[in-house]
Each structure stands twice: as C-alpha cells, then as structure tokens.
Symmetry: C2
Subunit: 201 residues, 2 copies
C-alpha cells in the first residue's frame, strides 16, 4: 500500500502557497486545509485576486499603485513639489514616508535595490525612468530613501554618481537613534553613525 | 490632502488575506505587495485555487480529501479493518496517523470539536454520520484520537457516552511522554498522566 497523501491538486496548492513570502510548510498546509473547509472559502479569495489583478496597477511615472482609470494622486497633485523626488525601494515605502508627514515632494519607486549576488543589476530597476524624470521635471534634489544595508548603500552610491553627473543634488536619510529608544536598544554601528551625525542644540 | 493609502481593491485584498489563518497585518500586506510585483504572480494562484476547488472534495463517508471521480482509497481499501474506526478532528490528522504506520482501520473526520464558547454543538460536527457508520459497518471499536485539550476531552467524553449506549467499545490515545524528550521538556500534567499510565517492563 503506497503512503497516503493529499490528492495531487491539494498537494500542488500547498506547494504554491509555500512559495509565497512568509509562509512555511506547516502554515501553508494549515491555510489550504482551512480553505477546503465549508466549501465557500475559495471563491471569495479567487474573486478578490481577480479584482486586484484587473483593477490595480502601478503608476507609469512614480511606480506607486493606482486604481485603473484613476490618475496618480501623487504625480498629479498641484500641492506637491515636483522638483523634489524621493527614491524608495518598494511601493510600501511610499506609504511609510507619507505617514511620517515630513515629505511634500513626489516619489519614485525603484522596484528593489542593486544586488549582484541576486543578479539584480541597474537594468532591473527603474533607474533609467528616474534619470529621464529628473531631466524632464527639472528636479533640484533627489532624496535616496533606500535601506541602509549593504545593497541599499550600494544603490544609493550608484544613483548619487549618476545624479552628480547630471548636476542634481542627491541626499540620504539621516542615520542615528530611533525615536523613543535608549542606548541599550541600538547596535554599535547605529551608535557610531548617531555620534558622527550629532547636531548642536 | 487626505492621508494616502493603497487603492481600495488592494486594501480589500490585504483585509481578505489577513483573515486567513496564520497571517497578521504585516505579513498580509507583504504578501499582497509581493503578488502585485512583476504582473504575473496572481494568475497562477487563481488557477491553482480554481483547480483545487473544482477537483478536490471530501469523502462523504470518512471526510478525508479525494480527487473528484476517484474512490476514497481509505474507505474502499480491502486491506483495512472496517470494524475499527479512528475519529479525528481534522483531515490533516488522518495523514499524521497514517505516517505513524500504527493504524490499519478506517477514519472518521469530525470537522472540529465540541466548544460551547465558540457555539460548536454536536450538530455542527459529523457525529450523526459516525453513529450511522458504526451501526452499518458493525464497528467493534472506535478510537477517539481527538486533542487532549478541554474541548477535545469534552468531545471524547460525549462520543464515548453515545458509543457505550450502542454497545460499542470506545478508546482514547495514550497520554504520556513524547518520544525523544526528557523530563525537562514536559509539563506537570503530562508527567502526571505519564505516571498514571506507566507500564510494566
């Protein structure tokens, strides 16, 4: 008697769910079995996914999400400074910066960061469109709000070289102590950077 | 300027993913943003879900999954003892017991356990079909392999009363030390039950 297993379509679905970010083999199995209960749990999910796929896409200019048929609220806002572009890795970063309330320029989603180990080269990111925008919009400053890990630093350095060649100012987010944290909560590198970037009171 | 957020279909999808078991708000957001990358990640998932929904259903008798058109390999096996039924909470428990290789009878998936706090009463579980099966198959023993939490104990006790009234033997999985674990890895209740159930060597 061969070892019992789930029917093939169920096994395939577990494998597919496992391939999604943040889901391990056990949670994928639990999720699929949950979907199979009661009979009516798959259809709403399929409908939602179809709706998402049909109605949401990325703004050609900034890369943030827009609903099909709508204008990008960021790129078409007259209240925003279109001479100031903030470059971020992912669309989700746009929301994070917006929530801070500290930025009134426009955004440019790169779609990742340079990573030779993962075969991500400048051609894989939205760098060419950024340079075209910088020229077309007469941009004065580009804030490189990419991560401060090795790939983020490499991306920022690559972009600042390109921007300098076009005579555009590039800046980087300040590095230092996170809000509300004591010295015991930060690593040595953060402390080093906080000291280097100290400000007179 | 109203606070920026994702377009409504994207917000709805995040809410829908959050409602799945094992996914919090952050992982739901990350998953949906991942699906939105590259354009081609939603379709395979939709196809897989549709395939699952169309091709897999539960065996009317035991409750384990079968592919549409196939016979249940468990209920239709001539190598299995149909006078011995093992009652489990979920279909996934069938596989766990099968992998142990210690059981050659047939299964019966309850679909949950009694839980008055969650409004789960005997009518919500596959108890009536179990009693009909017990009578039709001339079952000699029913192993109640439900969990050993409060609801599992209540369910086992409820079922054993019903079975006793029909003159059928009911049994419960042994409780004790898990394989390969020392005394420092088990709680007091497990140790108490392991002592109570000790066996002569």
């Amino acid at each position: 008697m061969p070892a019992l297993d789930y029917p093939p379509p169920l096994q395939r679905m577990i494998a597919q769910i496992r391939a999604l970010p943040g889901l391990g083999p056990r949670s994928a199995e639990r999720l699929v079995l949950w979907l199979m209960q009661d009979g009516g749990r798959i259809e709403p999910l399929v409908d939602g996914l179809r709706d998402l796929s049909a109605r949401v896409h990325s703004c050609d200019q900034c890369g943030f999400f827009i609903q099909r048929g709508d204008e990008c609220v960021l790129c078409h806002s007259s209240k925003r400074n279109h001479q100031l572009i903030c470059v971020v890795e992912q669309a989700a970063d746009v929301l994070r910066l917006e929530r801070s309330g500290a930025f009134t320029g426009v955004y440019h989603v790169l779609g990742g960061k340079l990573s030779p180990l993962d075969n991500i080269t400048p051609e894989d990111l939205r760098i060419q469109p950024l340079m075209e925008r910088v020229e077309a919009q007469k941009v004065e400053e580009v804030i490189l709000a990419v991560g401060s890990d090795v790939e983020g630093e490499a991306t920022a350095s690559y972009l600042s070289d390109l921007l300098r060649a076009q005579g555009v100012a590039a800046s980087r987010l300040a590095q230092g102590m996170p809000a509300g944290g004591g010295l015991d909560h930060v690593d040595e590198l953060t402390l080093y950077q906080a000291l280097q970037g100290r400000r007179r009171m």
